[in-house]
Symmetry: C2
Subunit: 333 residues, 2 copies
């Protein structure tokens, strides 16, 4: 019997359609393979082919030369640009502003063939520190309201270059989806005087059915009302609204959790393409009692049917309790 | 220079990134081709291979035999089921209900190879009447809150069978995206005492830059803040909140408009896959002053980058003024 489940933060109802494909092997899988062989501007030695770096963690060498482990550069084809004044205007019933912002690429390693799942914990940790450092720097630009940190892995997930990289888009507005999460979490806090994500961590840890793994600092779960099969959330146990305020203990632990989750997905779902997005409070908000930063990972398994656009009606064939069990029980490759 | 534009109904900001691919020929196109050659349960003569029809418009023949022009059947693998009592329950912080509803398929023609764009106006009109009739019938079931009518054309848009068909999902909740549209339109009405879509029709018709075509009853536009390249909306000129209350004059005119738009897309975008969704007010709402039913069509051109999930940050390379011009000026195939 299918079931309708409501995401407690956004209020989105999702259909869990249990009569359809549900097990990992029921999905048409298309493993991400790093082919190489073509010129790659992200590889060590090709630094001159990218815009000059804005940050690099390196053992040796000068800026824009080899010797780095993680390198951050402006996107060569940026969605938003840093130059100019922020200019707001109306056109009758419509509103617009010019595209002020920043769009940067975090090259996660000098090695073309190394996927995030196959990196060392230490390497992933450096990537996380680099993201944090860029947010703290860009946050000083008071025109910016939000910085979205994300990663597309595999062509099916929208990655245009196969060399492992994350991205950040800094923008003068708050994305609608984040705004809605904030509003939903605020309403819950007004009603109960508790953070909804803290309640989620407590309930999921006690229940256990949807837990994939837990550490001292994080809980990785299949959420109660997932839009997609094997959608996975990583929630910090300690309340905090901003990713960039994660502690020196949390960041290394997060690197360990991310590596484990990505390796489990590689094993259970056969090296899937995926999207990873960091959800964090807007830059101009002080530390908030009602919002709780977290990471959402969506492996690209089922075709989007198109129904989702505008309606946000998702039909998910895999109950999260089953997805969590597959991932929880998977050994590592 | 990129530009940020705000959708006036939902408040969603979209990046119009004018430095990227923008013209029809810049997209990797993958024309939808009807291959045939395999057994098709939707073809005339195979009626016994589907669940029994719930509606058919036919010249001759008995129920579940050939002779029909349009045939409506329950989906063999329904996302929701009509049997049982609607049962709501909580699980700690979560809410759920059992999957009560209906999921039907509207087979648009007995001919396997006929796409909607290549049908006669009269045939498309019959499909629209069939959708309307099914809504009016299902609306009597007071457990149902919403009926979503949609069409996925082409495998890339999620169609699993190539024989032209639309679908409807009737459900006991209102989809989040529709709820948000209703709320946005309500806020505008409270502020201005006018329907925002009526204002949109007036402003777009007067301005003309984003108009693709107009008739006595409808306006087809590239919306001001489109999420996707060549996204197209069809708005009725006459205010009305429910699609099923469209008049006997509007339905034939809508068939003409739909046929024209789909043929223009076929020509300009080379027979693209697309998703079409009817946006209408919830079933239990009386006729509303603030909401205005309409149709949204999204051709499947660019890869979804994954950023959109949860954040609803869309980066659209094609300004709607350019998309509208291409479609407006296209002759027909």
């Amino acid at each position: 019997m299918p079931e309708l489940r409501k995401d407690p933060v956004t209020g989105r109802w999702v259909i869990i359609a249990t009569d359809r494909a549900r097990r990992p092997s029921d999905f048409v899988r298309d493993p991400v393979t790093i082919v190489g062989g073509r010129f790659c501007p992200f590889c060590a030695g090709n630094e001159s082919k990218t815009p000059p770096e804005v940050l690099a963690y390196r053992d040796h060498g000068e800026a824009n030369s080899p010797g780095w482990q993680v390198r951050v550069i402006p996107n060569k084809f940026p969605a938003l640009r840093v130059e100019g004044e922020l200019d707001r205007a109306g056109e009758g019933i419509y509103d617009k502003m010019n595209g002020i912002g920043a769009h940067e690429v975090i090259i996660e390693s000098p090695d073309h063939f190394l996927t995030t799942a196959n990196m060392t914990e230490r390497q992933i940790e450096q990537v996380l520190w680099a993201c944090r450092a860029r947010i703290l720097d860009l946050k000083q630009d008071i025109r910016l309201q939000y910085i979205l940190v994300f990663k597309n892995h595999g062509e099916a997930a929208g990655a245009s270059l196969e060399h492992s990289h994350a991205q950040l888009v800094a923008m003068p507005v708050v994305p609608k989806g984040i705004y809605e999460e904030m509003e939903g979490a605020r309403r819950y806090f007004e009603f109960r005087d508790r953070c909804i994500y803290c309640d989620m961590v407590r309930q999921e840890a006690a229940d256990g059915d949807r837990v994939i793994l837990e550490t001292d600092h994080f809980l990785a779960i299949s959420p109660y009302a997932p839009r997609f099969p094997f959608e996975t959330w990583i929630l910090p146990r300690r309340h905090g609204s901003h990713f960039e305020a994660a502690s020196e203990r949390e960041i290394p632990n997060l690197a360990w959790v991310l590596r484990m989750i990505l390796r489990k997905m590689d094993k259970v779902l056969e090296r899937p393409a995926y999207n990873l997005v960091v959800h964090s409070a807007p830059l101009r908000q002080r530390e908030l009692d009602h919002y709780h930063w977290h990471i959402e990972i969506i492996p690209k398994l089922s075709k989007i049917a198109g129904l989702e656009w505008g309606t946000e009606l998702y039909i998910n064939p895999t109950p999260p309790e089953e997805a969590a069990q597959f991932l929880r029980e998977a050994g590592l490759l």
